[in-house]
């Protein structure tokens, strides 16, 4: 759905940005509430009904604080790269198609997204290394090493989807799931993609970069309060991107009976996000060398197997 006029472009930009903010805010609140419920706690209760406004208060608090840049840090890199990271993830959401011909749907969307997505570990590496803190440095190193473990299986599992559809256009991929979603057709591929996506999203059990019990906050140890608020925004936007990708590529996107497309999409996105939150509340953190072993000895063979199956069963 190519853009024909300036008004349409502005509408698109604003609409999708509203969508991002809507997801980020509701997800931020839901995650707090869901984890609190799983931990037999109350979670936020005071501000607004069921504490809905708590996150807003937190963001305002963080934004009004002074932005501290440590003495040892490389000031230029340290203060610009996190912004680039945010821009990257927001831009990536714009590359996805939405129902009602929202979104810039280019013909090589899938390719573009995964090429750009592989920049994020590098940006995290830069922030961590530039902050001049040893914990951040370890986190930065972990970030790069981790990306070696999950990046290849991630792309291979997506390759099977592209192979089946014969197109890199995500809208096409969604429409080819009209009868059966890909989760049923290639469960192995879904499994690999989901696990690799967890690592990409820095969610437990793969939150090695943030690793609060080991590295305190990993690459975010030294960032000031406004940047931390921004890092939260990055985290949630990344979450939105991840759950969107999972629902678009494997769960049939906005296709579904009775309800309008956008509602279906949001339902699927929130279900995926909820599952990820439950996993967060359940499991302990993996170790780096184990993740490496897991990535290369389990995920990679599974992804290759998935491609072979897809090729034999559906493409031929």
């Amino acid at each position: 759905m190519l853009i024909s006029s300036v008004e349409e472009l502005i509408f698109e930009v604003i609409a999708i940005f509203i969508l991002i903010v809507f997801f980020d805010y509701t997800f931020g609140w839901l995650e707090r509430k869901a984890i609190a419920k799983a931990q037999l706690r109350h979670g936020p209760t005071y501000l607004g009904k069921f504490g809905v406004l708590q996150n807003l208060a937190d963001i305002l608090k963080l934004l009004t604080k002074e932005n501290v840049i440590p003495k040892n840090a490389d000031k230029l890199v340290f203060s610009t790269v996190p912004l680039l990271l945010l821009a990257l993830f927001i831009f990536l959401v714009y590359l996805l198609p939405f129902p009602n011909s929202l979104g810039i749907d280019i013909s090589i969307g899938l390719l573009a997204i995964f090429v750009l997505l592989s920049f994020s570990p590098l940006l995290i590496f830069l922030t961590g290394a530039a902050s001049g803190n040893k914990f951040s440095l370890i986190s930065a190193q972990r970030s790069v090493i981790m990306s070696l473990a999950y990046e290849v299986p991630l792309i291979l599992s997506v390759a099977a989807v592209a192979l089946y559809t014969g197109s890199f256009n995500i809208a096409n991929i969604v429409y080819s799931q009209a009868r059966i979603p890909f989760i049923v057709l290639m469960p192995i591929g879904f499994f690999v993609f989901f696990i690799a996506m967890l690592a990409e999203l820095e969610r437990p059990p793969f939150d090695l970069r943030e690793a609060d019990s080991e590295l305190i906050a990993g690459w975010l140890v030294d960032v000031g309060a406004p940047y931390y608020a921004m890092a939260l925004f990055v985290d949630y936007t990344r979450m939105f991107l991840g759950s969107l990708l999972i629902s678009l590529l494997f769960l049939g996107g906005w296709l579904g009976p009775y309800l309008p497309g956008l509602i279906w999409l949001l339902i699927k996105v929130f279900v995926v996000a909820f599952v990820i939150v439950i996993i967060r509340a359940t499991t302990v953190r993996m170790r780096l060398d184990r993740l490496m072993r897991f990535g290369w000895f389990w995920l990679l063979p599974l992804a290759v197997l998935n491609i072979i199956f897809t090729f034999i069963l559906f493409v031929k």
Binding site: L40, R41, T282
Partner: protein, 119 residues
């Protein structure tokens, strides 16, 4: 991996154990050891509580009562361990520990409670 996730989902339906503090309060037994209470009438000014206190929480100070001027215990709550030895050693049970445990103040000087304030 599935079983732990089932346990987490089961926990979603369980009852919460935290309380929203100012509205709900924890249940306390009758022998709870909270802040001190002094019965000025029965206190015989023997000073046993001052001598038994391991942390010098209690000092005997002059105070005006209906029976005239005499020595009564003054308590520095900042130093108190709430061990209950003073209550146990008191021969007339004049000094007791109550169920009240909320004692925030804006000024730390207010933590020194005069005998008249110990109700």
């Amino acid at each position: 991996m599935l079983k732990p996730i089932i346990e987490t989902i089961k926990a979603l339906g369980k009852e919460r154990f935290t309380t929203t503090f100012p509205e709900e309060k924890e249940r306390q037994p009758d022998n709870y050891r909270g802040l001190h209470r002094l019965d000025v009438e029965t206190c015989i000014s023997c000073g046993a509580c001052e001598r038994i206190c391991p942390n010098r929480t209690i000092t005997m100070v002059d105070a005006n009562t209906s029976k005239g001027r005499r020595k009564l215990p003054q308590i520095d709550i900042e130093r108190c361990l709430f061990c209950g030895l003073c209550e146990e050693v008191c021969p007339t049970r004049a000094l007791t520990l109550t169920k009240n445990y909320e004692y925030t103040e804006f000024d730390r000087r207010h933590f020194i409670r005069r005998p008249e304030e110990l109700r």
